[in-house]
Structure formats: structure tokens, C-alpha cells
Amino acid sequence: MTDKELALKSIEYRKKILKYIVGANAGHTGGSLSCVDVLNVLYNNVMNVGPENFTSPDRDRYIQSKGHCVEALFVVLADQGFFPESDLETLCKYKSHYIGHPTRKIKGVEQNTGALGHGLPIAVGNAIAAKMDKKDYRVFTLLGDGELPEGSNWEAALTAAHYKLDNLVAILDKNELQITGPTKDVCNTDPVDHKFESFGWAVRHVDGHDFKALTETFAQIPFEPGKPSFIIAHTVKGKGISYMENNGKWHHGVPNKEQYEQAIEELDGAVELV
């Protein structure tokens, strides 16, 4: 997709994220809005995966470690045709399979996640299997900056470098905020680039809302042969909605009717600027 098409797509995704969060009266709004542009580029421009090849052993894999931001994943998967978008009207409702975290009951979801610090080790296992089978699929995982202190991430980071997994890509959704407040105040993981570099990863920074930069960055994977790739996507929590941006209360806040209408109005207005 062109940058313009991606930009329009993200506006559509943001509207749907809000719509279904409001419908469910639950969800992780801020983080879904910060990571959705990355998912947009991954699914539309980067990964070789879709409903038609989802059972193929050769497909690219995406594992969402920051499972709480499932709303972003669900709207992107629906758009890709993995399931009818109308299914999302049941989000978080009684007996729905569309729970508040990724589950393999939903077509398109690779792994059940939700508890933090789980995505990277599983992605490492997938990537090792690809090397064993001499297959050239790639494994992508999206981490939140708030989940980085989980020790399992650092264990997996060591293993990924040890096994020279240049078919593995970890993307950090660095929106700088977690539930308690600024990530640097809760448990500062900076300089995260130096940390991953010292662990043996090839690291790049990118504006996580710049479609051109994201597409170009993903096109350069692996950044170095024999090294796993770490992409620090600098993002804004609540991106696209003026009153939500960089405001921690929208970590899992649900807009009321007026707030929702304003958000949709802002997003409709953004179409003109694309």
C-alpha cells in the first residue's frame, strides 16, 4: 500500500478500535491506538500472511506480546478477512470468543497472550524451528515498553542472539506510558537500544506513526545478517485523539458518548489532511 492508503487505513482502524471498545465498554484504548500503525504496515505491507495461507507452514508469524491491546489486532485481522468484522460486536460479551486478549480461538491469532513477557520467548521458539526446518518465514512480535521489565524478555533476548535468529523481529511499541504512569518513572528501561545492542541484536529507531519510515525500516530486515532485529517504534499513547494523546488515564479508559463522538469527528477531520 502507498503511504496515503496506509494513512487512510489507520484512520479507519482507529475509528473501529473506538467503536468496538465503546461497544464492549472495555478495552485498552491508549495502547491500541499507539500500536495500530505498526500493525497496519506489518499486515498490509510486510508480512506474508493472510486468511488464505494461515495454515501454511511457510507463513510469516505475528505474536502480540502486549496482548491487552487486542482491539488493534482484531480490527486489523478483520480487515484482512480473517473473520467477519461484525463478530467484533460481541467483543468481551458473555460467551464471545473475542475476549480482551488474543486467543487462538480467533482465526489469525498465532498464540494466546495476555500475561506479559510471554511473546518474545514463543517467537524465539518459532524462529528456531524455522531455522531447523530451513524455512525462510519470519517471526514478528510486538512488545510494550511497560512489559520489558519481565525477566523472560531478557532471557529470550539472550537466546535469540545466541542462536543468531535473523528471522526474528521484535518491535517495541515505545509509547512511554504504562498504567501507573510514565514508564521511565515505573521502571526505566532506557537506554533500551544500548541494552538490546549489547545483547547482540541489531537495533533501529523509527517513528511508529510514520508509514514511509516504518515500511522502509521493515524492508531492511534483517538489519544485520546473523542478528535478530529490534525496532524501537516511538509512538504516542492514544495517538490520533487529541484528548487521549500522552494521557495515562486512557490506558484502559472507555470514552463516553460525547468523547466518542468527538474522537470520530477528529478522525473524520484527519482524512482531509491525508
Partner: protein
């Protein structure tokens, strides 16, 4: 059920048999993968690693990652055997077992080595006396503690073909063969009767089955007929066999190398009490305390888990019936 013959051979540690069986399977199936946490020595996986260097993944001492990586390997079609000391595997990586393996339906076999009090004097940090309890509380996992080399070989083969997660628990010491059963006799979820007797049922698992069998022989000389069961599968429990034993004997004694809380005995008790059982019942295991110092045999002996201790407890229980 086979006739009971205590074989003079077949007295390897179950961990050795695990490794040998895994090598047999790996030679035929390149999707068999051993995942280790610096545990290939104690897990007896050195020869496996030498023969199948492409089918072993070394994680280092990082149990959460061990299980997560195994889940990722399984998701990509591998039959992953994640090997680590039982104490660390089932405590430190419990959330990975719960979410990445069981909840996600990733067909990983978790292999807990040096289980129970195998590490003896290394103490509480290294004793795995909680693993049945914590894993019983998790959905979608088969929990197996083989008693002898035969059960171990069969269990490893079944685990490799299982369509759901399996936990295999092995101790360190050589295990005498209990009975010359045919391979078809062994199934997960079906207890193995290694001796029959009408007075009392002794239901044991893992390394406690052999002393339970010896105790039954001692009791026989005293005129007490005991049935001894290797309840190798803790979950799903063979409730059909338990019901049968409850009806046919006067008392039930359970024996396990696990804390009395949450293990085999409580699983049996829970079933029995809810199905109207009102006869004498006793759980033998490690009490809710820090264990004494000693070797595995000394520690178990201290808590009565020995030929004489089990025989005495069985006689006492039967006398109260």
C-alpha cells in the same frame, strides 16, 4: 494385567530410560526436539546432544524462557521435550506452563527431572514437592510419574504422540522393574495393578511404588493381602480403578513423594469422599514442613515412606477398619 515378577534386570534410573527412548524416537522423527536448561548432564541428554545436535536447543538456566521457547517450537510443528529440574520447571515457569503450553494447546512435553526429594540434602529449594499440586490446578495437562523403566519408556513414547501437553516426572535412582507387562497395557489415565489383594489397597506413584510393593509382600507374610497400584497418571485420575478398589478392599492407603497437600492422595480423597466412600483412608507423603536433611532414601524413610513404614501404616489403617 500381567503377573507380578520383580525383574533382576531393568534397574536403570528412569531419567536414563527417558533419554534412551527419546533417542530412539529422534532417530525416526526429526521433529523430536529436546530443549534443555543447562540440564543435559542431569537429564542424561549428553548422548542425545551428541547424536542429534540439530534436534537439541540449549537455553541456559532460564526456565521461563525454556518453556516459552518450547511452546514456540511446538507451535511450529516440533515435538518439544522441555527438560529441567522438576522444582524449577514447575514453579519458576508455572505461568509459561499455564499460558504458553496448556492454555495455548501447544503440545509440549515438560520433563521434570530429579523430582521429589531426589536432590536429597540439597534441600527445600531443590525439592519438588509441589508439582502435582500446582499442575493439577491447571487445565489441559496430563501428569505422569512413571514408577519403573517399563512405564518410563511407554510414557515417553505416548507423550511424543500425545495431542495435549504432558508432564513427565522422573527421579534419579535406579528403579526395579515391577512387572513384565506388554506395551499395550500402559495407557495414560489407567492405573497399573502390580499386585492384587483383597484387604487393603495401596495406591502409589513414581518411586514410591517399589517400596509399596515390598511392603505388600511383607504384609502378605503377616497374613494381610494388599493390592498395589502404580497410579502413574495423577491427572486424569483412573477413577474407575479407584472405585473398584474402594468397593473391593477394606481400606485405602496412598503413597507419594510429594507434599501431602494437593497430590495423588488428595486427588483420590476428593473423588472418593464425593462418591460416598466412608472406609479408612490415609495419605502418606511429605508433611507440610521443611524436610529433614539426608539422602532421598533417608528423607523418605524419615517420613515412613519405606517398606517397613508403609507396611506399618497399612496394618494400622486396616486395624481401624
Amino acid at each position: 494385567m500381567g503377573a507380578v515378577v520383580e525383574s533382576a534386570v531393568g534397574t536403570k534410573p528412569n531419567q536414563d530410560v527417558f533419554s534412551e527412548t527419546l533417542q530412539q524416537l529422534a532417530a525416526m522423527d526429526k521433529n523430536i526436539v529436546a530443549v534443555t536448561s543447562d540440564s543435559r548432564g542431569s537429564g542424561k541428554l549428553v548422548p542425545f546432544g551428541q547424536k542429534f545436535p540439530e534436534q537439541i536447543v540449549e537455553i541456559g538456566i532460564a526456565e521461563q524462557n525454556l518453556v516459552g521457547v518450547a511452546a514456540g517450537l511446538a507451535a511450529a510443528g516440533k515435538k518439544a521435550f522441555a527438560v529441567s529440574p522438576a522444582c524449577f520447571l514447575t514453579a519458576r515457569a508455572l505461568e509459561q506452563i499455564k499460558n504458553d503450553v496448556c492454555y495455548s494447546d501447544n503440545r509440549v512435553t515438560l520433563v521434570g527431572i530429579s523430582a521429589g526429594v531426589s536432590y536429597g540434602a540439597l534441600g527445600t529449594t531443590h525439592h519438588s514437592l509441589h508439582d502435582f499440586a500446582v499442575l493439577r490446578a491447571i487445565n489441559n495437562i496430563t501428569i505422569v510419574a512413571p514408577a519403573d523403566n517399563f512405564e518410563t519408556e511407554q510414557a515417553v513414547k505416548l507423550a511424543a504422540e500425545s495431542n495435549k501437553p504432558v508432564y513427565l516426572r522422573f527421579g534419579k535412582k535406579p528403579m526395579p522393574l515391577l512387572s513384565p507387562d506388554e506395551p499395550g497395557d500402559f495407557q495414560f489415565g489407567k492405573g497399573r495393578v502390580v499386585k492384587e489383594g483383597a484387604d487393603i489397597a495401596i495406591i502409589a506413584s513414581g518411586e514410591t511404588v517399589y517400596p509399596a510393593l515390598q511392603a505388600a509382600k511383607k504384609l502378605e507374610a503377616e497374613g494381610i493381602a494388599a493390592t498395589v497400584v502404580s497410579m502413574h497418571t495423577i491427572k486424569p485420575l483412573d477413577v474407575q480403578l479407584i472405585s473398584q478398589l474402594a468397593a473391593q478392599t477394606k481400606a485405602i492407603l496412598t503413597v507419594e513423594e510429594h507434599m501431602v497437600n494437593g497430590g495423588l492422595g488428595e486427588a483420590c480423597a476428593s473423588y472418593l469422599i464425593q462418591h460416598g466412600y466412608r472406609k479408612p483412608f490415609k495419605i502418606m507423603g511429605i508433611p507440610d514442613e521443611y524436610t529433614v536433611t539426608g539422602s532421598q532414601v533417608e528423607i523418605l524413610g524419615h517420613y515412613g515412606i519405606s517398606e517397613s513404614g508403609i507396611a506399618a501404616e497399612a496394618a494400622k489403617l486396616l486395624a481401624s477398619a
